[in-house]
Symmetry: C2
Subunit: 693 residues, 2 copies
């Protein structure tokens, strides 16, 4: 790789700053025609050089990613688990960053002239009249005044710096969409209440705790004289918001590999997916906090209310938009079977248009895309042909992989190539302490409260693990690099980088140690709900009936209502799965129901086709409700009858009991035949291979 970087630097292209002698009298000796021809050639050459440089820059990243992939392959091959691909990408990025920063010195170009164009505004587009010809320039950004002089030295570093909006508009959306699209696990829905609590309440708590602590830290710094610029309370809150977005991708990868407890996995994954959305909207509402009047950093109730309104408005708007597009896609794909390419293309385009539509409407595209992904997984996925299901999964898996590793390697690179780092030891130490306290204030109190209501308690070792798995990643980085104009933001950005490095390497690398230290069981049979099956066994042997009532009361009533509505009405309308509407709607709506029900749904009546009936495992309860309406609606066939037998199956705290049953493996195998298949990640287990070339 080091050898390959050479051409990138060889073809290095220097910024030519042309002097503008203010009030120059145009002095040109040669004929205009020839001159313009020469000028055209010069311009073309410049553009070509610039294009070559851009290609070389991008090539660096592509080769970095390639190198990461090769090393990862080696690691996977040797079952080396201390370093995740993202951590590795960062290391390679760091190395390249060091080389670019210290290894390469560009000789000064003598022909450079500096231009100082005195204008009284900075429009986004500038028209420049060069000897009668008009050239259009677009605003790239502001440059620090003290950097203008050594712009030349930094030019190469600035060249490998991407527009921060690239992260938000190109790299993050596929990552977030993929997270939403792969969220469709029954364990997520089973733990939905807790996940929502951690993601919403927890993120807000964490944001404000960190914000307050940092404000204390900053005030202290000001008094000690360590602060080199303004740092307002809103800045502290903003910092709290951006570092509250957790991204335990490293931890989850290890969880997946070691088959750690599924509930813990669901809690962590669900929290990290949703708190990204909360953090984005929260940070943008904090930025929008603008009290009127002269001093723009005082407390003002109206401005606070406005910010709160923005939070609610943007979040619900993005949510609604994402869900709406998902539903539209589901309806379209309802009809669009048989043409896989068209299906996949439509799926991709509709998901992308969610992002664009949200951005164009002033909502947050990333949030919209997340909820669009969840909706697509819930409805559209069922309408796709099996091939398209694979295709879409694989497509977004690939995009996610590439975007994630790109971001992490860029993070490593930018630690050395970013121009305006402000490393303040006191701020950094303060931030780490605040982060720790903020995470603790999120996990432990909420877990305590949730445990009051949960039957399947979140045990203390799970809580410690969740505390430990509060890694920061792509979203935190993207939020912090978005605006690095002020001193406060620069300090935040530098600190954020260190936080990401520390958590990904140390916490990510120590996951296996932490798991064994907390004595968290590994090797749980993938996503198959071991504990439920065990508890079924327990129930059957202990005798059912007595516990049914209590379970029914404990499962969230709101969620049960939603599930019924979704299963009886939305699923049949939007997808080919689920029971026919004629069975679920009251008899008076007969014609309407027949009109809306797809032919496939009637076929479903006989056989188990509803892939989502495993969404909730305690569906003994649901089949009861469902059974009230009509007797013949038992769409999930064998499954529901199995579910009835399971009624009241308590989902956990049997984890310790399981060892008492030596023959549980046998029961599990027996039960698995009844339970529907799992929605694990596509397990590419050798589809019958027809295409040979």
């Amino acid at each position: 790789i080091l050898l390959r970087i050479k051409p990138a630097t060889r073809t290095l292209w220097l910024l030519v700053l042309v002097s503008l002698p203010v009030c120059i009298s145009v002095c040109r000796a040669s004929s205009p025609q020839e001159d313009s021809a020469m000028e055209n050639i010069v311009t073309e050459k410049k553009a070509e050089e610039s294009h070559r440089q851009d290609s070389a820059d991008l090539l660096i990243f592509i080769l970095l990613l390639t190198l990461t992939i090769l090393t990862i392959w080696l690691f996977k091959h040797r079952r080396f688990r201390f370093l995740h691909e993202t951590g590795l990408a960062m290391i390679y990025g760091l190395i390249v960053g060091v080389i670019l920063r210290y290894g390469i010195h560009v000789p000064r170009d003598v022909s450079n002239i500096t231009l100082n164009c005195q204008v009284n505004a900075s429009p986004a587009t500038l028209l420049v009249n060069v000897s009668g010809k008009f050239y259009e320039y677009t605003l790239k950004g502001e440059i620090n005044a003290n950097e203008v002089n050594d712009v030349q030295d930094n030019e190469m570093l600035r060249k490998v710096t991407f527009d921060p909006e690239v992260f938000f508009n190109i790299l993050l959306p596929p990552i977030i969409f993929h997270a939403g699209y792969s969220l469709k696990r029954r364990h997520f829905f089973r733990n939905m209440g807790s996940i929502l609590a951690y993601a919403f309440l927890g993120t807000v708590i964490s944001c404000f705790i960190i914000g307050l602590l940092m404000y204390g830290c900053v005030t202290l710094m000001k008094q000690v004289g360590q602060l080199g610029g303004d740092f307002f309370f809103t800045d502290c809150l903003f910092f709290g918001a951006i570092v509250s977005a957790t991204d335990p991708v490293t931890v989850l990868a290890i969880f997946n590999e070691l088959q750690v407890d599924v509930d813990l996995y669901a809690l962590l994954f669900g929290e990290s997916v949703l708190n990204d959305a909360v953090a984005v909207v929260l940070s943008s509402s904090i930025v929008a906090y603008q009290p009127e009047g002269d001093n723009s950093h005082t407390f003002e109730v109206m401005a606070l209310l406005k910010s709160f309104g923005i939070f609610l408005g943007v979040f619900s708007g993005s949510f609604a938009l994402g869900v709406a597009t998902g539903i539209v896609t589901a309806l379209i794909s309802f009809f669009l079977r048989d043409f896989q390419l068209l299906e996949t293309a439509l799926f991709f385009l509709m998901s992308w248009s969610t992002f664009l539509l949200a951005e164009a409407c002033g909502f947050t595209g990333v949030v919209a895309v997340l909820f669009c992904g969840i909706t697509q997984a819930h409805y559209t996925y069922n309408n796709l042909s099996p091939e398209s299901q694979d295709r879409t999964k694989q497509l977004f898996e690939l995009l996610n992989f590439l975007a994630e590793n790109f971001i992490f390697s860029y993070m490593g690179l930018t630690l050395f190539t970013f121009q305006n780092h402000v490393f303040n030891p006191m701020f950094i130490v303060g931030a780490f302490v605040a982060l720790f306290i903020g995470r603790a204030a999120n996990i432990y109190p909420l877990s305590f409260l949730l445990n009051l209501g949960r039957r399947n308690k979140i045990r203390s070792n799970f809580q410690h693990m969740m505390m430990f798995a509060g890694l920061r990643g792509a979203m935190t980085f993207a939020l912090s690099i978005r605006d690095t104009a002020t001193y406060a933001r620069q300090m935040m950005f530098s600190t954020t980088l260190l936080v990401v490095f520390f958590t990904v390497w140390i916490c990510g690398g120590g996951t296996t140690q932490m798991l064994s230290c907390q004595r968290i069981r590994v090797g749980v049979d993938s996503d198959q709900d071991n504990s439920v099956m065990l508890s079924v066994f327990v129930q059957i042997s202990v005798g059912e009936g007595s516990e049914r009532r209590s379970t029914k009361q404990e499962s969230a009533w709101l969620f049960r209502i939603w599930y019924n509505f979704d299963h009886n009405y939305l699923k049949p309308i939007l997808t080919h799965s689920g029971p026919p509407l004629t069975a679920t709607l009251p008899p008076c709506c007969g014609p309407l129901a027949r009109f809306l029900t797809s032919p496939q749904a009637f076929e479903n009546e006989c056989q188990l086709k509803d892939d989502d009936s495993d969404l909730i495992l305690r569906d003994g309860d649901i089949s009861l409700t469902y059974g009230d309406i009509t007797v013949s609606t038992d769409a999930s066939g064998a499954h529901t009858s199995g579910g009835l037998a399971f009624a009241g199956a308590s989902t956990s705290d049997d984890l310790d009991r399981e060892l008492a049953y030596g023959d549980h493996e046998l029961v599990m195998r027996g039960t698995r035949l009844v339970l529907p298949m799992d929605d694990s990640e596509p397990s590419f287990t050798e589809p019958h291979h027809r295409m040979r070339m």
Copy 2:
């Protein structure tokens, strides 16, 4: 769709041209702090508005594509073949273009001020000092002097105009790569000589014929006074080069659907893929033709030789680079099995880096990508796991579909939104005539010459069909929109657009009529080589032996040498398929051969694993050569022994004879069991579906 465009225009953002009073005395009343804060807010708002506008613009295209997909689905459903998806995309683009152009009028912004910054050069980057703050601007392009005044009205139209380089650097590469990656059909290799002749010789002939005719036309126009600007001979040649790139995607889609003769398909597809590469390099060499001295448009031998050198250098450089990256990928993927995601990601990244590397080195990325695709298909594909084979195929299929339809819908749009159209009736008529003559001068003489050498003659109805199928498409458009600065280029661009529209709609739409008119057989059993199998039958009944010698002489000796080398050495080294090296290398190289041979290759000895042994169908010849080296090398097992029986099987001109054998269907079925599977497009025939959610 029409309703949805509204927000795009509502959020319209106008270019603010700020006056630069040269030598202004900076007059600012308010405090600098507050002022800069206000300025920041204004800048942020502007940036946000601009971002929203960009999102809305992109959304238009995404919705256009969505609409195209839905309509195409309808067409496919109803088996409506007169309009291909690309033609449809153009129509939708046209409609939206008309609306944008005539339907929407932006009210004039009164606050606009015009800036005239007198600078004596147009650097790619401009630093502007706005009241002490430095802003960086990047060059976007030149604006016509007469447009500066009504820049405002056109702003919206210019907003939906993409940077022409987007086509070359983002949209074309996946299209071209996909073409190369799906070129791996044995019929392509069987007709390789003819395809190369059409693509190289034909394109050069066509380019020069069209160039000369257009020069005549332009000279005439000048005398009549119809010409409004300069139009040099190099411009004419350039026009000839860009319109020589054929793109019969519409025709090929119909061929595929109707199962037209495979040789005709291979000839057309192969020609269109390769002549794109030739046209790109040819046009860039013509642009590079720069005689020294004052008059830059005279004839000069040195400049001509230099251009010729550039053509050879760039083409061979791009070719070498593409092949090299393909081989590197093959070598890497040799080891990288078992991790499908990593495999696919690596494949994608390596293919992309080919493009970037070529661009960074000054070669042509598109050409490199084409040959990279062909190499990947030939070697890397065999090393991929079956899942990755599917994944990569599907990925590039999707990218190709999206990019192609995007380009065509943009073409439709740009007919109305492009600002500098120059429609000159005389030039347009001349261009159509020249195109017709140029295509004829390519097809008919070359076919005559090729028929002298070909056993399987290209019959006259095939020639007419090839003549008819000379559609122009994405490549021609991308080449012509790349530079629209001068009058000549603008006229070329407008004319090219009309040429694309005409050929895609008229020629594309008339394909089925033309097929029946030329009495070209349809419904040939897909890619199964019907004619060969029939001829085998013929040979067997007629008796073999007598014809073997003549066939051996007729098949291209150069190609035979290459095939032997490839099959015996390259394939075993680079892929898991092919015979083991120990068998093909001379005994003295034993240890080296054992070192280089993969374990799989030894397994291959027993069973047929070489998916490419069907590359050449007359491999009776090859197995003879091959048999000379060692007796036990018969890697392709049953197939080769079948092939020996087929020796001398003349591949065609039995097409008419076939009807004489009523029972040929039976023979075909019998033979097909022996022949290896075909490399048709991935036929997604229900892989065993394991993943359910």
